[in-house]
Amino acid sequence: MSSRPPETPVATALGATPTGSRRVIPLRWPAVVAVAVVGVVGLFAFIWPFVVPAEVAIAHGNDAPWFFAVLIALLAVVCLAEVSAGRLDAKTVAVLGVAAAAGGAMRLLSAGTAGLEPMFFVVIVAGRVLGPGVGFVSGALAVTTGALLTGGVGPWLPFQMVCAGGIGLGAGLLPVAAGSRAERWVVAAYALVTGLVFGLFMNLWFWPFLGANAPTGMGFVPGAPVSENLAHYALFYLATSLGWDLPRGVLNAVLVVVAGPALLRVFRRAARRAAFDAPVAFEPPSEQVRR
């Protein structure tokens, strides 16, 4: 039949889209704005000790972390709703569920070794294959699932959600061609860097709590110049957290190098089998069938 359209649903389902990219949740502009605003507020929730005026810091040094935990929780949920608004079909839910389950299972397995969490590895791969939208949602959901499984819903959860969501989002935006030789190394470098940056940011949410009580020269001094607080934080990070973050970053990077290509294939295959964005077209029955 020469009149047959070139693109049939079957062809699309087998992955023959001309572009080859498979954005399971396309980011519309409201979602992009929401993610951007949450990113800015989230960043502020972490770095406020360095930027707020002295009198605010002295008056609210002890409430601010709680305040931001509540605010960030609300914003993260609103952001999830915007990104996913009405466009999750059963198969997307299934793929997100597996990403969340993998994150949660990693948390279960690594319960004994705090910090050595290979969870980001899964989040990064999911974001890489399924696009920034799914990357954000699966990062946030993986952390939530892990927290629900281990009964660890605490004030740290909103901050972790934003961080892990950002990691998944960034993995989807990495400027490297899917399936290329360079992909493995770029993603591995990304895993290493995010492993370190995650710790760098996650310490910040509780660092102001230490206040005057931190070791001399490592604590948050309200009203001190930015450079002094930054130097104090750098010392604090080196002394306490780097020992956990470096092994985590290295572990995730090594996992990406060793298993990355295979896992990318697994996720790409699942995405193809779920036949995302296969257009449903009803055609009038052809001549042959009628006869």
Partner: protein, 358 residues
């Protein structure tokens, strides 16, 4: 009259826990904080959700580690508190020039140690309240009360929660099979080899589930018209921008600091409203639906009272709310103690969880 055994509404327990946590976060009085922790332990012992493996102990352990860590760090490195009472003196280690801000060793004063203990005890008490909430009502029971806008995301979390233990089982099975074939070893390479078959199985199972859900008309219970969705998006964006503007106002006093807080509150309220208006759920019957009756109200109030009393006390500057570290017991304001003890009431005035759920 004994109450019929049932599980309390999870939201009631979480309101109780968050109220008590708010109360604990306002004080450094060690007696009050220990009372808060004690109340948490009593209530959890009496009314624990039988489905959980008591996460309270984990939270208490984290709290204990925080206190111990702070005390050790204070002994070694000192803190910003200067005291008169020197307990003992550690040998001082000379440090190079660039680390001149840091002190290693030296005299250890009682005041600095007490400050470290009081301050970290506050964090430990807040964590105990959250741990108690986790133990009293498993947070996954709260998933049922997600707004309809988040229905799909909630389903993904439920799928994740269901599959995660299976993934662990699968990983064990694959590992056992590999051991039988003589592949031994640990490390990254082995983990990577495990990941592929385990995830393949998970996707297989999950996509099968999705196909069956789709063929049975899953997801038809949530209604979202385009108009509703646009309204929700608009509300969310305006709300988020309001939050952003409010934060900026709080930060920069010259740009209208007085406007900051109201703008922030309105923004947050609008953003929250966007969750409600975005979609509506079809009314349907539920299995073992949680009910909100008077024990739930009592529980929520028992958490709210200490929060209100302690916030009021810290705003008015009562004696014994923020304690200066000094030898001897600090002043103990009676209303605060009464309010914290009131929080233990749900241990008796609520229905017991059913035995057969255990």
């Amino acid at each position: 009259m004994p109450l019929r055994p049932r599980l309390l509404h999870p939201a009631a327990w979480w309101l109780w826990g968050l109220g008590l946590a708010t109360a604990a976060s306002r004080t450094t009085n060690p007696v009050v904080l220990l009372l808060v922790i004690g109340v948490c332990i009593v209530v959890v012992t009496e009314r624990r959700d039988p489905a959980t493996t008591n996460p309270l102990w984990g939270f208490l352990a984290i709290g204990a580690i925080i206190i111990a860590f702070r005390v050790v760090m204070t002994m070694l490195l000192g803190n910003g508190v200067h005291g008169e009472t020197v307990l003992f003196t550690l040998p001082r280690v000379p440090l190079p020039e660039w680390a001149s801000g840091i002190r290693l060793g030296g005299p250890v004063t009682l005041e600095s140690l007490l400050y470290a203990v009081y301050d970290s005890l506050r964090l430990a008490a807040v964590l105990a309240c959250l741990g108690a909430a986790n133990a009293l009502a498993s947070p996954r029971r709260l998933l049922r009360y997600l707004p309809a806008t988040l229905y799909d995301v909630g389903t993904a979390v439920v799928v994740g929660l269901t599959f995660a233990p299976q993934l662990v089982t699968d990983a064990r099975a694959v590992r056992a099979a590999r051991t039988l074939r003589g592949h031994e070893g640990t490390g990254a390479r082995e983990t990577a080899r495990l990941a592929v078959p385990v995830l393949e199985t998970a996707f297989e199972r999950s996509l099968g589930l999705a196909a069956s859900m789709e063929s049975r008309g899953y997801g038809r219970t949530v209604h979202a018209s385009t108009r509703d969705r646009r309204l929700a998006s608009g509300l969310a964006l305006v709300g988020l921008l309001g939050v952003l503007g409010g934060l900026y106002g709080l930060l920069d006093a010259s740009a209208g600091g007085a406007l900051g807080l109201p703008l922030l509150a309105v923004g947050a309220a609008l953003a929250a409203a966007s969750l409600v208006v975005g979609a509506s759920r079809e009314r349907r019957s539920g299995h073992r639906r949680d009910r909100w009756q008077w024990p739930e109200t009592v529980t929520a109030l028992a958490g709210a009272v200490p929060a209100v009393v302690l916030v009021a006390g810290s705003v008015r500057g009562w004696d014994g709310i923020i304690v200066t570290p000094a030898p001897g017991l600090p002043a103990l304001p009676l209303p605060v103690v009464a309010a914290v003890l009131l929080a233990a009431v749900p241990a008796w005035l609520t229905p017991r969880p059913r035995e057969e759920d255990r």
